[in-house]
Symmetry: C2
Subunit: 314 residues, 2 copies
């Protein structure tokens, strides 16, 4: 065990996808006042299904930070039951996107509040207050954007690609519908401007982080503040720890290495954190004008997560 | 026990609200081929809540005819559980309109199909096929209409009045938003035209039947076919068997008797079925040019329900 250090006085903002970001945020909140951490969260994989507005990345993060996450499944809520989905499957309804009974309550709550005129930002704040989540979660935009996949079997929505087809089809292109016309929230811009440090979580660069970067204004701020921007590689030893990042990088013309990710972020990051097993890539990355930190980036063990958080804050 | 009679050869259409209509339809399907029965169902109390499109009268009827109805509660599905609602209440969400887990599957199914471009008529047919319901259930319109209550505490939606306030506030007026601009479905018009008999179920005349009658074209057909139209009184001995019909009749300037209901239907019905305890009203109703049949109208016992069905078909 590494002994607890006094909390660092920083104001940081973390560009976030789902699981990897949730774990990094949880680790960071052990090192720095959680109230000084904001997460700007991808909403490109949000969807409306069965009439319900579902925000997978926001929910993954809030459930994890609230300690409600289902560790066995790796997604959703602990103690989940499946009564509604089982009935829906019995009716012949679309039950491939599994929504547990507890999880459904979140979506019902959100959908009702949105219909009453609340924004996603409002609803996220309400849910986080309810669950005692101290980190500020900010959907990057309150407007509707949608990441879609041009694949070998046609155009698929995010969840069709990810869940229905288990990210098992070849992708020819990814685009984010609506992103050029959307606006970042003023909370997002303010968080980016006031932070002493901006972190890019080890989320999928192409489908979790890029939709955030494409929101008008966001990448411009990162570019200006490049020296304060630090990214964590989601690729370790040429493979994604979770999800299809490695495969997608190759399919979309990148290298499925930490260096490929660094190249993708070139111009908007000043520092890149890579795993010890990838130390050999450090020189090449540095030759791109990016500082490199080498540490454990796999957060399965709490100690490793803490070590990574400290490396990010160093 | 009354012995089973050979099934009558008729094609009938029943203007229907919820519980009372469901019971009459169930009884009628014992006397006549269910495939020769259509129910034109009120959708004025349909609502969108939590993003879900909910059709209380359609669901009450289909659940009852499928034998899935919850007899203990008097509404909803048998074997129901409440996981989602309990969680939603825990989140501080609007949980006064209780939606069980099984019931929610119906609403998720419907909402998804509507978002895919299906009509309420399509979805109702799909659900009824799934449940083996042989009576044809027809929402009176696929357009959105909404019955609203002008009350002593302000304007309330149907379910706010009915469920949230337990129909316990004084009503000054009822109106059906959107009804003058809506269209009946062609299935509805066709059912009314081809039927040998049109029945008005013992549903609330003011808030279940009147929204159907206000749909352009419906009351015109009934008026023309008046001699083939038979209504069953929902008022017995001056009281509604269920719900606020008696109270609403008085608040809206009618008499809370079977005669008051007959007067309300005058011009569109040829025959009125009243309960034995109301036999004294027969002469007054007949003086309005309406034939009267006197029988048991309370359907709690299957034998009585059967007797009522036979009186309707006599």
């Amino acid at each position: 065990m590494i002994p607890s250090a006094p909390k660092v006085s920083e104001v940081i903002t973390v560009l976030s996808g789902g699981v990897g970001a949730a774990r990094l945020l949880r680790a960071l909140s052990g090192e720095i006042e959680p109230r000084e951490i904001s997460a700007i969260v991808n909403v490109g994989d949000d969807l409306v299904m069965h009439g319900l507005t579902i925000c997978p990345d926001l929910d993954t993060i809030s459930y994890t930070l609230a300690g409600l996450n289902n560790d066995q499944l790796g997604w959703g809520l602990a103690g989940e039951t499946w009564r509604v989905m089982d009935e829906l499957a019995g009716l012949g309804g679309a039950a491939w996107f599994r929504l547990g009974d507890r999880d459904l309550a979140t979506h019902l709550y959100r959908s009702q509040r949105l219909s009453e005129g609340a924004t996603k930002t409002d609803v996220t704040r309400e849910l986080c207050e309810h669950w005692g989540v101290e980190i500020t979660l900010l959907p990057v935009t309150n407007d509707e954007i949608a990441t879609v996949f041009d694949t070998e079997i046609g155009v698929l929505s995010f969840q069709e690609y990810f869940v229905r087809h288990h990210h098992g089809v070849v992708v020819k292109g990814v685009s984010v519908h609506g992103v050029t016309e959307c606006s970042p929230t003023h909370e997002v811009i303010s968080a980016l401007e006031k932070s002493t440090r901006i972190v890019i979580a080890p989320s999928n660069p192409l489908i979790s982080i890029d939709p955030i970067l494409q929101v008008p204004g966001v990448s411009e701020i990162l570019r200006e503040r490049r020296d304060d921007v630090i990214a964590v590689s989601p690729i370790v030893n040429g493979a994604a720890l979770k999800g299809p990042a490695d495969r997608l990088l190759i399919e979309l013309g990148h290298e499925a290495t930490c260096e490929g990710v660094a190249a993708f972020y070139q111009g908007i990051i000043g520092t890149f954190v890579i795993d010890e097993v990838d130390a050999r890539h450090a020189a090449n990355i540095e030759s791109r004008g990016i500082k490199v930190r080498v540490t454990t980036t796999i957060m399965a063990e709490p100690e490793n997560a803490r070590r990574l958080a400290r490396a990010v804050l160093a």
